[in-house]
């Protein structure tokens, strides 16, 4: 309640009281509850936090101040002064983001104070999928949950319990993995459409590190990026933006050069000195071509690349087949340009090559990543200034005193769908959905929603009703990340080991419960109880962090960590993950990318891409909805980017309503003519098109994932989301569905774009 409405409410109730002779109805009169004791009115304090909106694991500094919240106490509605999070800023010393934060991180505070948050445990009351729930008490909810867990056969094969969650390398995710293995379950199965499983696999093969690289942009003099939107949505954007700024302007007299290779200009590509569009899926060939030129010049010897080179067929021979001319025929670039790009890498040492996004989301993505790894190794960019590093990783299982060997490797989502949720398979008896929305991100051919509808029991611990959690029978809402103990282990973004960790910033606003506490209590109450060395989430974290030395002072690690918002420094050997010393894999060769759909019937490549909302999980935050998209200035909408030449050939004008048809579905959207996309491609941001995801995101725009072909990377099972072909046709005039903030698109010249509004 803001001050103005408070005053008016006071006046109104005061007047009412006067008019009715003091016989005001108690239910409508304003009740002020005693405020919490730790509040200093008007005094701001700053508390550490951890951002969990994406896997980057940035540290937060949260401004906390008093605010008047509407609360219900013993059935009486009233107002209580509480401490509320006001503003999220980056953790000042945090090695990943050093005080900075991206737009998503800034908007995260709205997830805690979202009007459509689930405020208490719910039980399904209508048919599954109708989203009808009744509120229940925590006692009842807990009892029901324990009953479900008790009903599980822990020795069943295939496992009777499954868990869907977002990737979490921290203690929460690790604990859940251990719990699942104790209960004979499987998971957590990562729901992460734009996740980089392919790149992790490639890095594991080339360098023995199953993690994303940390790029030392600040020291690089030349950066070549193959599709990696490293300033927007890929890997650790804040850390990378920090490095990018330093690369461009941080050194006197040296300005790092940056070339972006991609078929659709990303926000990152918009910043490149040279933007190089290539045919989709041929980035790996380009990497081989560049390596060929580098090898030809003799500046670096092939064996410099070591094991990374061995992963690429023909490497030791100098890649004789990958001449600029041969690569030119594949990629569509001029041979001279390939030569020039390669020589710029040599001349620009320290130079580094990045790969991410669409190049890895093709059937040949793994090879492309391996080729880039080899090229980086050749250029001497591994663990060197201006190159890529692998952030030392804490062994969270070891820190928690648990044996990592107990935990089975979770299958990829595609694999799980194929084996357990397809027709005729044996589905799990109990599925827990943890703040993830696979129904929204799954390709339609998986028929995931239909499969989930058939499951005996689904429990959700998420904070919002979305396409997946609205199928749940029982909802046990977790605290928000500002209300609970939270930790994250960033896999990249810093050169030292980092564990981001923070105590609750504010007290829970609603009647929610920490999922870890919930699971600890539930497992202790089972008919066959499971015992853990700690009783609460806090105790778990305290015990785990106790294995680490204090990083600054000689004092107590646990106290220090809570004050600093995490731990970073040199990991003791006992809790450090070593590089995997696996056998050298067999060399792989470039193969042409495969696409689903014939070029005759579906002439255009379809490229969904991670938007401000990433894969859609952040579409419920109004600040992000209203933030103009960096490239298009679109707000509250989605669109199809299309090259003006292609649009002209199809008779499509800016803003026209078009229909996009793939072999797996049809969506409608507004066309947006963009010069930054190849004529053979149409692109669409992911994240909109929710059918049920809060008042802000529901029924807004279209979901490009809804027409994707179920093509997967054979090695990892990751969805090859860039491998669909589509047909586009105009179906109507602009109808206002595309909302743009900007008027003109060009600063000079005739730009008479008809206004969409």
């Amino acid at each position: 309640m803001d001050r103005r409405s408070f005053i008016s409410l006071t006046l109104v109730s005061g007047t009412t009281a006067a008019l009715t002779g003091g016989c005001a109805v108690p239910q409508t009169s304003l009740i002020r509850f005693v405020p919490a004791e730790d509040i200093q009115p008007g005094q701001a304090s700053w508390r550490p936090g951890v951002c969990t909106l994406c896997p980057a694991g940035c540290g937060l500094t949260v401004r906390v101040m008093d605010a008047d919240a509407d609360v219900v106490r013993d059935g009486i509605t009233g107002v209580q002064r509480i401490l509320a999070a006001k503003k999220l800023e980056g953790g000042v010393d945090h090695p990943v983001n050093r005080g900075r934060l991206c737009a998503r991180g800034q908007a995260g505070v709205q997830a805690t104070y979202h009007p459509d948050r689930i405020t208490q445990p719910l039980k399904r009351s209508g048919d599954r999928g109708t989203g009808q729930y009744v509120a229940i008490s925590w006692d009842e909810a807990m009892a029901t949950f324990v009953r479900h867990l008790d009903a599980i056969d822990r020795r069943a094969h295939p496992p009777a319990l499954a868990w869907f969650g977002r990737p979490d390398r921290g203690h929460r995710g690790t604990f859940i993995a251990h719990l699942l293995s104790r209960l004979g379950g499987v998971g957590p199965i990562g729901v992460d459409l734009f996740g980089d499983a392919v790149l992790r696999r490639a890095n594991a093969m080339s360098f023995g590190r199953s993690q994303l690289p940390t790029v030392d942009l600040a020291a690089a003099r030349h950066v070549l990026s193959l599709g990696a939107d490293f300033l927007g949505a890929w890997n650790s954007p804040v850390a990378q933006s920090r490095g990018y700024g330093a690369m461009r302007t941080g050194r006197r007299g040296v300005r790092g050069a940056f070339v972006q290779v991609e078929a659709r200009m990303t926000q990152t590509g918009a910043n490149a000195d040279e933007w190089v569009p290539v045919h989709p899926g041929t980035e790996g060939a380009l990497a081989l071509g560049l390596a060929h030129v580098v090898l030809q010049t003799g500046a670096f010897a092939a064996d410099t690349a070591g094991r990374a080179g061995e992963c690429v067929a023909g490497w030791a021979d100098g890649l004789p087949d990958w001449t600029p001319e041969a690569v030119a025929a594949i990629t569509g670039l001029a041979p001279g340009r390939i030569d020039r790009l390669a020589r710029a890498l040599i001349d620009g040492v320290p130079s580094v090559v990045l790969i991410g996004g669409p190049p890895l989301a093709h059937s040949n993505g793994l090879h492309a990543a391996l080729a880039v790894n080899a090229l980086n190794a050749l250029l001497g960019a591994i663990e060197q200034p201006g190159g890529i590093y692998f952030t030392p990783q804490a062994d969270v299982s070891a820190m928690s005193g648990l044996d990592a060997g107990d935990v089975a490797v979770a299958p990829a989502m595609s694999q799980f769908v194929a084996e357990r949720l397809s027709a005729g398979s044996r589905p799990p008896a109990l599925l827990v959905v943890d703040d993830s929305n696979p129904v929204f991100t799954a390709p339609p051919a998986w028929r995931l929603r239909e499969a989930l509808l058939r499951l005996p029991t689904i429990v959700s611990v998420g904070s919002f009703l979305d396409e997946t959690s609205s199928l749940a029978d029982l909802i046990l809402p977790d605290h928000s990340y500002l209300e609970s103990w939270v930790d994250a282990v960033p896999e990249s973004g810093a050169r030292t080991a980092v564990i981001s960790l923070a105590p609750p910033v504010v007290r829970p606003l609603h009647d929610t419960r920490s999922t870890v506490d919930l699971l600890l209590e539930a497992s202790a109450n089972l008919a066959a109880p499971i015992s853990w060395p700690w009783a609460t989430h806090e105790a778990l974290l305290a015990a785990a962090l106790g294995t680490l030395p204090p990083s600054v002072t000689a004092g107590d690690t646990w106290t220090e960590v809570q004050e600093r918002g995490g731990w970073w420094g040199e990991l003791p050997a006992a809790v450090a993950q070593a590089a995997a010393a696996t056998a050298t894999p067999a060399p792989t060769a470039f193969t042409a990318p495969t696409f689903e759909g014939t070029p005759g019937e579906y002439p255009l490549h379809f490229l969904p891409y991670a938007s401000t909302f990433l894969d859609g999980g952040l579409a419920h935050l109004p600040w992000l909805q209203e933030m103009p998209d960096p490239l298009t200035s679109a707000m509250w909408s989605s669109w199809l980017e299309i090259n003006p030449a292609t649009a002209a050939a199809l008779g499509i004008a800016d803003g026209d309503v078009i229909r996009v048809t793939s072999a797996h579905g049809v969506i409608e959207a507004a066309a947006l003519l963009s010069p930054g996309i190849a004529p053979s491609i149409v692109a669409m941001p992911a994240g909109q098109g929710h059918t049920a995801f809060t008042r802000y995101a529901s029924h807004r725009g279209a979901n490009p994932l809804g027409i994707l072909a179920p093509v997967t990377d054979p090695a990892t099972g990751a969805l090859a989301w860039a491998a669909t072909r589509v047909r586009v046709e105009r179906i109507g005039d602009p109808d206002g569905r595309l909302i743009l903030f900007a008027g003109g698109t060009r600063e000079h010249g005739d730009d008479d774009r008809p206004p969409h509004r």
């Binding site: 200035s633 900007a742 008027g743 003109g744 698109t745 060009r746 600063e747 000079h748 005739d750 730009d751 008479d752 008809p754 206004p755 509004r757």
Partner: protein, 440 residues
């Protein structure tokens, strides 16, 4: 049809008092027809005040639209009267006599209506009094450097002057009404006549006062529309920052004012049967004047456009082309047709310069001048310097209703006025007839 002889004094008194003394159902019908849109306008305004300005079609970056267009339009129409009648008085043009009062009435009413638009247009109209210089408890004065405060002063002066200019010559006519009526009406007009007797001392003072007022009101009228033009030309907006705006606006104002006057006169002539007083001569004279103003207007437009085109400043040119041949071109060329081509043909060719020809041309000019103000405001605001912030504007029904209702309000005020005041100054007609007799 010119009557062979001018009507006698008795006839004049009878003819000109008839609308006041005899009320038929036609009057009530007309008043009702005019009142309905006014009520609709009030409802629309109340809606806007209650829900907020969002009910309009305005938005970033076009923050001025129909209301300011209407404001400038009505202030322009107001130049019909006082300015024309003052100039004609000063040059002692005999044919002015039947025209002056209905012209001055247009001025007074259109000024009242025009002055309402800044209020309608305010985000927080209940605080409009902050424009007035009064010693508040915090000693917060208005900013005398703001063109809007100039507007406030100029319109107040002009409105005060115009009302007095209209009211002073009405006093002897009120005395005539008083003497020709009975009962309540006699008492009311007796009060309004302020004890007017018609002594030579009174006549002399009245005529001297009118001469002074006429001299004073002309520069005030010029200043008002110059200052209205300053609302635009003081802001660094493409195609606004122009030194020509002052005279351009004044010329446009007189232009639209004459057109408004011709329409009003034709309606009065028709409905009040004043064929013997509002003669084809008057329409012919005003038609010539309108033609001159049309040419002057075209001259200013040519000046404005040529200088912009030749200067070739990018931001100006963006607006220039937008009106000349892009999205606003249909409106622009309609405006040119209405303001230049139609008057040129209908008024320039003697054969067409009939009463109906003059009225047709005037209607075209009123439409064209409304469009002119719209085309000055909206294309420029929508295309300022940074193309990212370009935008457009489309009015909502609320704005359209309010803008339309002011035309009805004008008609209503006029209908009521003719019911209460002799629309042609009786004493001036008599004096004119006598002077003509003496002269002949």
């Amino acid at each position: 049809m010119t009557p062979a002889r001018p009507p006698s004094h008795e006839q004049m008194t009878a003819d000109l008092l008839r609308p006041l003394l005899r009320t038929t159902w036609r009057f009530f019908l007309l008043a009702a027809v005019c009142t309905a849109p006014v009520l609709a306008g009030l409802v629309a305004w109340a809606t806007q005040a209650y829900y907020g300005f969002g009910v309009t079609g305005l938005g970033w970056p076009v923050y001025w639209g129909f209301y300011i267009t209407s404001f400038v339009f009505w202030i322009g129409i107001s130049h019909a009267g006082t300015l024309i009648s003052a100039i004609l008085r000063l040059v002692d043009a005999g044919w002015r006599r039947p025209v002056t009062r209905c012209a001055e009435a247009i001025t007074a009413f259109s000024l009242i209506i025009g002055a309402m638009f800044p209020l309608i247009h305010l985000g927080r109209p209940w605080l409009a009094f902050w424009l007035a210089p009064y010693p508040s408890e915090r000693m917060l004065w208005p900013n005398f450097r703001s063109p809007l405060v100039w507007d406030f002063f100029a319109i107040n002066t002009y409105l005060t002057g115009s009302l007095l200019f209209l009211a002073l010559p009405m006093i002897p006519d009120f005395a005539t009404v008083r003497d020709n009526s009975t009962g309540v009406r006699r008492r009311i007009y007796g009060v309004l006549a302020l004890g007017w007797r018609g002594s030579s001392a009174q006549w002399h003072r009245l005529e001297t006062a009118m001469a002074i007022m006429a001299i004073a009101i002309v520069p005030v009228a010029v200043s008002v529309h110059t200052i209205v033009s300053f609302d635009f030309s003081m802001a660094p907006v493409p195609m606004w920052q122009s030194t020509i705006f002052g005279p351009y606006f004044v010329a446009g104002a007189i232009f639209s004012g004459i057109a408004g006057l011709i329409i009003a006169m034709a309606l009065l002539r028709r409905f009040l049967h004043l064929e013997a007083y509002l003669l084809p001569l008057h329409f012919d004279n005003l038609g010539r004047l309108l033609l001159v103003m049309s040419l002057l207007w075209a001259y200013f437009v040519f000046n404005e456009r040529l200088v912009t085109y030749y200067g070739n400043e990018p931001s100006d040119m963006a607006v220039f082309w937008r009106t000349q041949r892009l999205s606003f071109a249909p409106l622009y060329w309609t405006m040119v047709t209405c303001n230049f081509l139609v008057p040129l043909v209908l008024l320039g060719v003697r054969r067409f310069r009939t009463i109906s020809g003059c009225v047709t041309a005037s209607v075209a000019v009123v439409v064209g001048m409304w469009l002119e103000r719209f085309l000055i405001i909206v294309p420029s605001l929508g295309h300022k310097f940074l193309p990212y912030s370009h935008g457009s504007y489309r009015p909502t029904p609320i704005e359209i209703v309010i803008a339309f209702s002011t035309f009805a309000a004008m008609a209503l005020l006029y209908v009521l006025f003719t019911k209460l005041v002799p629309i042609i100054s009786i004493w001036e007609m008599k004096a004119g007839a006598t002077a003509d007799t003496v002269r002949s």
